[in-house]
């Protein structure tokens, strides 16, 4: 217990010192470029220390906590490592460690390399903020940490602020985050007032003591506030704008762990502050989850900007996580703690898994961007020969995110399916039909994600390079490869060894529902994953993987028996008899997703424009201009009217801001009078 304290404090200290050192070097010293390697090393050390602290927090049966009084009433700098916090801290430290290793090479010659010391400093500050967000145990302290995290990540997002797109994305991010924080303020204060304390421990189960309407309102506000951060649809629009414009190591952390603060907050509120929420809350979370998952992947399919594609997939995976959470909320309201524990385990496991493979994919995209200087997939291709290691890691990430066996994405999606199936037996009301439907839509989401990653990997890495930059691409340096390799390894290990990892969730579900489920989820000497009654199923990723390896020997054996080995030649691909297939003949990302664009035309409302110039006959055009775009439905039908409304309101409010000092003094006087009246009456 003592060691956990010290590890935690030491890690935080490293982050704080790293932030200060980096800033100092940036402003006062000329050693800025050399310091970045040192800062990345420090970040790795800090991450390892925090990893140790989180493991300590998970192992201890009692919470590891301490507080520094601030001297101000209602504020205490109190920190607590309960199982939920420790789990998210563990996820943070794993990702931060990998990103720190990656950043050594990335900051040295990446586009983020112009202010390496400042980037390193901000990275440390953001990691410190994230650590505090996951561990703060006081409402005000939590909100302070939240703001540190938001502001530092904003500065990191706008690192390349010369581009207008970056500034726009950053602005959208900070604006929506502010709106979210506003809702969090109100929601958390409503709960804190009922508890009479801002301490998280005093707020355990406090939501149930509120009147139903207030409690529901507080939950709604907190769901929306954290939902902005998590990127749920329809509050997602900042995410595909901000994540792609950030430097890739930051994008990786943003999608991997920063948006998970929203998930952490939602888990904290739903399963700690509220001991029982009505069924509508669970239904809301489940439906938003399904919608986010499906629309997220559909929009991802239409992207050919590699990083924006990945950003949309973050929305999809947040949706899958929320399906688990929504299931858990519903099962709790039906009085099935074991099922709720399984659903929560599924959601939390997917949180970690998504962090790992999305971080890996963003780092892979960063390497590609670093090597080709473009994010546009239509200008890539053939990179698997030029960057074999990056391609392999990206492929592992792609298989994992598509939920294919035997990697980690499959395990958490399998658990989500089982939770959805079990939900059917949890109640006799009509609500139960929602679970299999949600499961079927999860299947659609997963299949579309597989299609999307066939596109992402196939167009980016396979076939011929489509541009001279892709032609000249070179493999990234050792540290960047090492950062990706560690995450790829984690994806494989968590997939094959899922059963040995599941006990991590026991203390969390114990705290939330009073029951740990890993014992009932694992059987057969730990090789088998088994979902509880009433719908049982078993799966063993480890044995599936072993069998896959064993069975791929069968073809070799057949070949040896009948085949004749010598006749294997290389030749050109089939070109319909007209020699000279070039990169121009290749399928493009836009073409690949065309069938889905047409099938879901009602959603996308695609618009295309073809202009052909010809001299003699329209059949022999001299040049063709093709333009295709889809309608951003949420921006157009929800945010544009909202923005117009706000602007209209602002214009009408301009009347009271005449610029006259007397008028302003009069306003202050009137306000004072009104307040006095209010105070006297109240």
């Amino acid at each position: 217990m003592l060691l956990t304290h010290q590890l935690y404090a030491a890690g935080l200290l490293v982050f704080a010192l790293g932030a200060i050192t980096g800033a100092a070097c940036h402003f006062w010293a000329r050693t800025a470029s050399r310091i970045s390697t040192f800062l990345c090393g420090a970040a790795l050390v800090g991450a390892l220390l925090e990893a140790g602290a989180s493991i300590g927090g998970l192992l201890h049966s009692s919470d590891v906590a301490w507080a520094i009084p601030s001297g101000i009433p209602y504020i205490a700098y109190s920190v607590r490592l309960d199982p939920l916090s420790s789990f998210f801290l563990l996820a943070l430290s794993l990702l931060a460690g990998a990103v720190a290793v990656y950043s050594v090479g990335y900051l040295k010659h990446g586009p983020a390399g112009k202010n390496p010391a400042l980037s390193g400093s901000l990275l440390h500050a953001m990691l410190a903020g994230l650590t505090l967000v996951f561990t703060a145990s006081d409402v005000v302290f939590f909100l302070i940490a939240w703001e540190i995290m938001v502001v530092t990540s904003y500065f990191l997002v706008v690192t390349n602020h010369e581009a207008a797109e970056t500034r726009r994305g950053g602005l959208l991010y900070i604006l929506m985050s502010r709106a979210g924080t506003g809702m969090l303020f109100v929601g958390l204060l409503l709960l804190a007032r009922a508890a009479g304390s801002t301490d998280f421990r005093a707020m355990h189960g406090i939501g149930d003591k509120l009147p139903a309407a207030t409690g529901g309102l507080a939950f709604l506000l907190l769901f929306l506030g954290f939902g902005v951060k998590a990127g749920i649809i329809p509050l997602h629009i900042w995410l595909p704008a901000a994540h792609p414009v950030a430097p890739s190591n930051i994008s990786a952390l943003m999608s991997g762990i920063v948006i998970k603060t929203g998930i952490y907050g939602l888990a904290r509120v739903s399963f700690d502050f509220y001991g029982a929420l009505p069924a509508w809350a669970g239904m809301l979370v489940l439906s938003i989850g399904v919608i986010s998952a499906l629309l997220g992947v559909l929009y991802a399919l239409m992207e050919h900007d590699l990083k924006r594609l990945l950003a949309y997939h973050s929305i999809e995976n947040i949706g899958i996580i929320l399906m688990g959470f929504g299931g858990a909320l519903l099962f709790r309201s039906f009085g099935h703690p074991v099922l709720a524990a399984i659903a929560l385990t599924a959601g939390l496991f997917h949180t970690l898994n998504h962090g790992l493979f999305k971080c890996l994919l963003f780092l892979g995209a960063g390497s590609v961007l670093h090597a080709t200087h473009t994010q546009n997939m239509e200008e890539m291709g053939g990179l698997i020969r030029r960057m074999p290691a990056t391609a392999l890691y990206f492929l592992i990430g792609a298989i994992a995110i598509s939920g294919l066996p035997p990697l980690n994405g499959f395990v958490s999606e399998w658990l989500t399916y089982q939770a959805m199936l079990a939900g059917f037996g949890a109640t006799t009301e009509l609500t139960r039909a929602a679970f299999p439907i949600a499961g079927a839509l999860l299947a659609l989401t997963a299949a579309l994600a597989a299609a999307c990653f066939v596109k992402a990997f196939g167009i980016t890495f396979l076939a011929l390079p489509r541009s001279s930059q892709a032609e000249a691409a070179q493999e990234v340096d050792l540290s960047m490869r090492a950062g990706m390799a560690s995450l790829a390894l984690a994806c494989v290990l968590l997939g094959l060894g899922a059963t040995w990892f599941l006990p991590v969730f026991d203390p969390i579900t114990q705290q939330a529902f009073g029951t740990g489920v890993s014992a009932s989820l694992v059987s057969g000497n730990g090789f088998l994953l088994m979902a509880g009654a009433p719908v049982r199923g078993t799966v063993s990723t480890l044995l599936l993987a072993c069998m896959l390896v064993a069975l791929s020997v069968v073809p070799l054996f057949l070949w040896r028996m009948w085949g004749r080995r010598e006749k294997r030649v290389t030749g050109p691909a089939w070109d319909c008899g007209q020699p000279g297939l070039t990169a121009d003949n290749e399928y493009t990302a836009t073409a690949f997703s065309k069938p889905l664009r047409m099938i879901f035309a009602a959603l996308f409302r695609p618009r295309r424009e073809i202009q052909a110039e010809f001299e003699v006959s329209p059949y022999y055009p001299t040049s063709i201009h093709f333009e295709s775009e889809i309608q951003p439905a949420f921006e157009r039908h929800f945010y544009d009217p909202l923005l117009q409304g706000i602007l209209r309101m602002a214009r009408s409010m301009k009347m009271v801001q005449a610029g006259s000092l007397h008028a302003y003094l009069a306003y202050i006087f009137i306000t004072l009078i009104l307040l006095l009246v209010f105070a006297v009456r109240g």
Binding site: I384, A440, V454, G458, L462, L543, L544, K567, V569
Partner: protein
């Protein structure tokens, strides 16, 4: 343990050796219905032997994904074949993965096959990959919902348990939820195995191909593996459909006579289903690609109805 391994070997041999016969039977039957003579019943075996002995041409633009694909596809499909109950309700490996694992193993094979299609850089491969991933994606919700409906009735996603739950109830397939789920899965079967009206396995006209376009660059032994995988997949899906809905003759062990009876029934069931598929193929024209979603939407609606009737008529409806 030894018995387990023996069972695995027997089932692997069954899936490997029997699947080309079903394909051959289908082709012969289809030719006869169209008053053609058609290829011999055993032609698929000859094709396999021939292809395995041939040399092959690897596209010069291809990477290691191209040669890796046939192995992954073959292993994943064969493994899926070991998870399903065939002549006995107890599949040899059903305990390491249920119906979800079967669906996802097939998806793993398809994932690599689509990458293999893109790897050569020829436009046909990309075209096939794109269409294959699209069709399978929109077939997925119907497939899963129908599977869920059956799983809910059986109380498990484990295929052996699902088949065993059905064994005792001879007339269960007459329940509305079962019939609707069967109809939905039948449509999915047509789509997933690339049959008319979704895809034409016999076509080599570039613009109408789906599966064939994707594997256009493969030749020799690799092509043999891919064709074989496709036949195995067809057999797996057909077996799944028949054994889950009509679990007759799924004796759990028993005497030699009972075993023989099971084998005969198993062959008869697959033959009947093959006849149904061939009838659909013969009586319909291929749909335009963008009409396929409507067909699969029908499948989804059917499985949703199956689910609702489960809800209305109780868990075992």
């Amino acid at each position: 343990m030894i018995g387990q391994i023996a069972l695995v070997m027997v089932q692997a041999a069954l899936v490997l050796l029997f699947s080309p016969l079903i394909a051959g039977f289908g082709k012969t039957l289809k030719a006869r219905l169209q008053t053609r003579r058609g290829p011999a019943l055993l032609q698929p075996y000859r094709d396999l032997y021939k292809l395995l002995r041939k040399g092959m041409v690897i596209p010069e633009t291809a990477s290691w994904i191209f040669p890796a694909t046939p192995y992954v596809l073959f292993a994943a499909t064969l493994l899926a074949g070991l998870l399903i109950p065939t002549i006995s309700a107890q599949a040899p490996l059903s305990w390491i993965g249920g119906v979800l694992a079967v669906v996802y193993l097939l998806a793993l094979g398809r994932f690599f096959l689509a990458l293999g299609g893109l790897d050569a850089g020829s436009p046909f491969g990309g075209l096939g990959s794109s269409r294959e991933m699209t069709i399978s994606a929109i077939a997925e919700p119907a497939l899963m919902l129908a599977v869920f409906t059956v799983a809910l009735g059986a109380g498990s996603t484990n295929l052996s348990t699902m088949a065993q739950a059905a064994v005792g109830q001879s007339w269960r397939f007459l329940a509305p939820s079962q019939m609707l789920a069967f109809a939905a899965l039948f449509i999915v079967l047509i789509a997933e195995t690339g049959r008319i009206p979704v895809d034409n396995p016999a076509t080599h006209l570039e613009l109408t191909m789906t599966h064939e376009a994707m594997i256009l660059e493969y030749s020799g032994p690799y092509l043999a593996l891919i064709e074989w995988s496709a036949w195995m997949k067809q057999m797996i899906l057909m077996t799944l459909l028949m054994n889950v809905f009509f679990p007759y003759g799924l004796s759990a062990g028993g005497s030699a006579g009972a075993m023989l009876f099971s084998v005969i029934l198993f062959v008869a069931k697959l033959a009947i289903l093959a006849l149904a598929v061939v009838l659909v193929e013969t009586l319909n024209a291929k749909l335009r690609l963008f009409r396929v979603p409507e067909l699969l939407a029908v499948a989804f609606v059917l499985s949703a109805l199956a689910l609702i009737s489960t809800f209305l008529f109780g868990g075992r409806g």
